[in-house]
């Protein structure tokens, strides 16, 4: 079976996020008010071949932690989007 997976990588709480902070500082000048706490992260979408959805998710989570993020500063979570052909 093939499963489509999404991995979100975000900076851990307390870790400085210069990109998010810079975007937030720029917003009022662009006419966007009332936007706060901007945090920038990464997103990965891929297909995993596995015997079950549980196995697919476990593989994706392992991949997320080992390759797509550095657990010292980032959190990574995988979630299943659905089955694909």
């Amino acid at each position: 079976m093939n499963y489509s997976v999404i991995v979100e990588v975000t900076l851990r709480p307390g870790i400085a996020d210069p990109e998010g902070a810079t975007i937030e500082r720029a917003l009022p000048a662009l006419g966007f008010t009332g936007v706060r706490a901007v945090r920038a992260g990464k997103l990965f979408r891929f297909d995993v071949e596995a015997a079950s959805s549980d196995e697919a998710l476990a593989n994706a989570q392992a991949l997320a932690e080992r390759l797509l993020s550095n657990p010292v500063i980032e959190d990574a979570t995988a979630r299943l989007e659905g089955e694909v052909q």
């Binding site: 900076l11 307390g14 870790i15 400085a16 996020d17 210069p18 902070a21 810079t22 500082r25 550095n70 657990p71 010292v72 500063i73």
Partner: protein, 733 residues
């Protein structure tokens, strides 16, 4: 020191300030032996950066520092924040940063984690250095098992200033404000210096648990903030709006406030609530010791504060008054002491009160036990010079040629239109020019060098030879050496063998600097570098700064031309004498031979050779007609590698008729140069006149390198191997 029991906050502040990293308590005793004086030294060790007078009203500031332990945990951010920190040291002197160099040391690349570290560190330096707008013009790249899991990431920065803009980190003027500039303060790197740089990597209990314990210490760099901070600070200094200025580095605000107060002989009240905080609920200890990046402390008179604020607003930089300079306190015995007070509100509760100088200057001084390693004689006896079989020297040569271009291509090495010789050659050579500097035709040159293979065999001689190698690299771009900075990367100082190495290394550096008339104007010590429970090989990194008086034409490169004569300046191996030593060479190390004795360090012999080569190349730079067409010093990999690199770059071979043996091919010790000349007779005449040993090696031509019947190899093979070997090892091809 205090005539009472310190409270917990005070104790914690002492703990951080007296850590190894901040106080140099194990190394200070030894560093005193380094010579630091010369007429052209404007600022010696002890300030943010050393500064020399380079002529034409221009001062050049230089500083080197390690960021080893942070880089082992988060290579990108560890390296990036290393660049940020060293730049602040330089612009805190009033100098515009003009160049960065990055000596790097990793474990072998057959290990996936080491490959991950290499890619992370290089992209961190690239990401920060390029974005902050300072060219990275060179560095070093060394692989050895001893750095596995404990990479060394050293960063050197050079800046230039009109000598009248020189700024010092001093607080004076009672009533003046201490203004915190730049980023808000978070919990980044709380206790970072004491946690990270003053403890080793235990190794056996597994990397994961160790990473967990150190997680909160990771700092994230913001090159964009730093770029604006540089522009704002230089503008403040140009407008003479600050009394003193200091960067916030290790131990953060506490370090900057107590050091500036101690230097000014004044007291300072610091209000923790006035510090802009990125996170809620930070304790005073956290605010005072956070190592949040991109922050500076400026001492400003109240009248100038509005003008300071206006400059900071333009560059979108925060500026908050966090401290007041106050009168020193009169003690019962009549003496006066500048007190550092940490308060909750300027009129609020005093949370800590300690003499500023006791935090800054009174850290204990250790004379840790030293002992010569017990196995040293056995190591010396195992000398490859006498019994290592020749094997296939051509294959050895191909195994030794590596072009680090994959690394330095990732660095902007050209910004400011100063780079005459960029990375990839012997030393970098830049025009001495930049925004706000007086006009000058001078150039400055920088080289970083290290040789842990030599220093493992003999830290004293190895370090002395390393200094000489730096001078040789400068000579290749026509620059006269003016000053030395160093970064002493060693193992655990609680091991007597490590302290012996450190002490020997300092003596070797002192001997070389005395012999070559060079002042040491700055340095940094990184201890507790251990991998898998084993101390790293002693790794003193030497940074050399030189000046070219007239730079109107580029110096010769490595590329010789058809019909040129290739000559060797420096000693040849004489028949019947002891062969050139192979101990500590890259050739021997590749064969697993790590023993033997080094060649000695002989200053008088080196000086005449260095002066001759420097003069020849400086003449080319000055635009004088010369017959020298190419130059390269003999260094890592020996004469064989030097010739192979020149052949590869030129696409033209050379045939060298006679070579004494493996020693002449692969031995490494400074003081030898390969030059190419279009007029051999004239060149030899000048060398003989200068009293410098010189021999003709052969004529340029053909598409192969033939070395004394020992090596015959096609240039195409050398070029391919040079270009590919690093990326292949990184598994990128």
């Amino acid at each position: 020191m205090l005539s009472r029991e310190p409270n917990p906050l005070e104790l914690a502040l002492y703990g951080v300030m007296w850590s190894e990293h901040c106080s140099y308590k194990s190394s200070r005793l030894h560093l005193r032996r380094l010579p630091s004086k010369a007429p052209h030294v404007l600022v010696g060790p002890g300030e943010g950066a050393g500064v020399i007078d380079a002529g034409d009203g221009i001062g050049v500031a230089i500083r080197i520092e390690s960021h080893n332990h942070p880089s082992a945990i988060e290579p990108y951010q560890g390296a990036a924040t290393g660049v940020g920190g060293i730049l602040r040291d330089v612009f805190s002197m009033g100098a515009r940063p003009l160049a960065v160099m990055d000596p790097l040391f990793f474990g072998e690349l057959d290990d996936a984690r080491n490959r991950w570290l290499v890619e992370g560190v290089v992209s961190g330096i690239s990401g920060y250095g390029n974005s902050v707008g300072v060219p990275t013009i060179g560095g070093e790249l060394t692989f050895d098992q001893c750095y596995s899991a404990n990479p060394l990431v050293n960063v050197l920065a050079v800046g230039a200033l009109p000598t009248n803009r020189l700024a010092l980190a001093v607080a004076s003027g009672v009533g003046n404000f201490a203004v915190l500039l730049g980023s808000s303060t978070g919990r980044d790197g709380i206790g970072g210096v004491s946690v990270l740089a003053s403890a080793g990597f235990a190794g056996d209990d597994g990397a994961a648990s160790l990473d967990d314990a150190k997680r909160p210490s990771v700092q994230v760099g913001d090159p964009y903030e730093e770029k604006r901070l540089i522009e704002a600070c230089l503008e403040l200094l140009d407008l003479e709006l600050v009394v003193g200025i200091q960067d916030l580095g290790g131990a953060g605000l506490i370090c900057a406030t107590c050091e500036t107060a101690a230097k000014g002989g004044v007291g300072m009240d610091v209000d923790v609530t006035a510090v802009p905080q990125r996170e809620v609920g930070m304790a005073p200890f956290e605010v005072m010791t956070s190592e949040s990046q991109e922050r500076m402390l400026a001492i400003v008179t109240p009248e100038n504060f509005d003008a300071v604020k206006a400059v900071c607003d333009k560059w979108e930089i925060r500026a908050n008054v966090v401290g007041h300079v106050v009168e020193p306190t009169t003690m019962p015995d009549g003496s006066t002491v500048g007190m550092l007070r940490v308060r909750h509100g300027f009129d609020g509760e005093v949370l800590a009160e300690v003499p500023a100088s006791s935090l800054a200057d009174d850290a204990p001084l250790y004379d840790r036990p030293r002992s010569r390693p017990a196995d040293l004689d056995a190591v010396w006896a195992d000398d490859p010079t006498f019994d290592e079989p020749a094997g296939d020297p051509a294959a050895d040569l191909l195994g030794l040629v590596v072009d680090p271009a994959w690394v330095y291509r990732q660095y902007d090495s050209q910004l400011f239109l100063n780079t005459v010789v960029g990375p990839g050659r012997d030393a970098a050579l830049l025009r001495l020019a930049g925004p706000g500097l007086p006009a000058s035709q001078r150039g400055f040159a920088v080289s970083t060098d290290s040789n842990p293979r030599w220093c493992a065999l003999d830290p004293r001689v190895g370090t002395a030879l390393t200094v000489a190698e730096g001078v040789a690299n400068l000579a290749c771009v026509g620059a006269s050496a003016k000053a030395v900075v160093n970064c002493l990367n060693f193992g655990n100082p609680e091991h007597p063998e490590v302290m012996w190495q450190l002490s020997e290394s300092v003596d070797g550096m002192a001997e070389a600097c005395d012999g070559l008339s060079l002042p040491v104007i700055g340095g940094n010590v990184s201890l507790y570098n251990e991998s898998g429970g084993r101390d790293i090989d002693p790794t003193p990194v030497v940074g050399l700064l030189g000046v070219v008086e007239s730079l109107v034409a580029p110096p010769p490169g490595w590329d010789w031309r058809e019909g040129d004569t290739v000559v060797l300046v420096g000693h040849r191996e004489a028949a019947g004498e002891t062969p050139f030593p192979l101990a500590g060479s890259r050739w021997a190390t590749r064969r697993g031979r790590r023993g033997g004795r080094l060649a000695g360090f002989d200053a008088s012999r080196l000086v005449s050779t260095f002066d001759f080569v420097t003069g020849e190349i400086a003449a080319v730079c000055a635009g004088e007609p010369r017959d020298v067409t190419a130059v390269h010093d003999v260094s890592g990999g020996g004469l064989a590698v030097a010739l192979a690199e020149m052949a590869a770059v030129s696409g033209l071979g050379v045939t060298v008729a006679r070579l004494a043996g493996l020693g002449e091919l692969f031995a490494e010790f400074p003081g030898r140069f390969v030059l190419a000349t279009s007029d051999a007779e004239a060149f030899m005449g000048r060398a003989v006149n200068a009293g410098v040993p010189v021999t003709m090696l052969g004529a340029v031509g053909g598409d192969s390198l033939h070395l004394g019947g020992l090596v015959s190899v096609a240039i195409a093979d050398i070029s391919r191997q040079r270009a590919r070997s690093l990326e292949e090892a990184l598994e990128l091809l």
